[in-house]
Symmetry: C2
Subunit: 178 residues, 2 copies
Amino acid sequence: MFTVFNAAPEGHWQVTLVKPYRGETLPAVGSIAIAQSAVLPSGNDWHLTGVASHVRYVERAEKIALTSVQAGLGRNEATQAALIPIRKSQAWWDLTQEERRQIFEDKSRHIADSMKYLPAIARQLYHCRDLGQPFDFLTWFEYAPENAAAFEDLVGHLRGTEEWRYVEHEVDIRLCRN
Amino acid sequence: MFTVFNAAPEGHWQVTLVKPYRGETLPAVGSIAIAQSAVLPSGNDWHLTGVASHVRYVERAEKIALTSVQAGLGRNEATQAALIPIRKSQAWWDLTQEERRQIFEDKSRHIADSMKYLPAIARQLYHCRDLGQPFDFLTWFEYAPENAAAFEDLVGHLRGTEEWRYVEHEVDIRLCRN
């Protein structure tokens, strides 16, 4: 099942910002509606598609810790969101799994350092590298307004890690619930 | 870019066998043509689609060893082929990466024990779990007729491993070049 972020005049989420962090921006869009689709969407209308797949880097102890603390999507109070599509470089994908894990966690502490933002920031990762899309991942976050600063802190922290040296395209999309 | 195995009356590869190993079979098909496609095919005609993606389990030393010994597809003498679509169970995908690797290599020696069949058997793995397909992988092998017995030996060996306890759907398709 594909998750599709569609431009929609009456979308559930109003877009407040579209700004490139690295590489080209995306076309401006007013609102976004999130849909589940059994087929991979085509066509030229604004949409981003990904798949909520199995975990790639977390180890068992981390998975247990994350599961015990993380919040699900759709909380009433989480009226702000961020959609950050990311593409990593060919150099990243030429690494082996254990080399990627080493950079991801041993050097960049992606999981450990993100843990303190849970459950305030709810997260969902969608994979799209194998879907022939322009990005490798769509990262989606939901949080209450009082946690907006914490969210920006998390994003800023990740962007300073060694892992982020492999990010070659990234766009910030911020949203609030209509 | 998607790799599509299409039923085709004039396909490059003539199908000599379609036989389920575990689970349901696939409809009989006369010939198969292999195509590259920028879009994910839809429609009800016989086709299987996958993506030649980055490696998931091999470590650096294994990658170097494999690269030094493996053969590419399309060798003149490799007139026989096998297309074996495989789906693993939810229990497999609920494992973490390091647990899957442990079963895949530490217990099942998937890489190490397959190495002796190289370069006689050329292989390519296509991923399709995240494409909404009925299989997780399409495995493709090409070999000369004199290596057909070695190939069946390899397949039989893998099916005896602990890794294969997680395979819940698998179909044997054997082909020869037209």
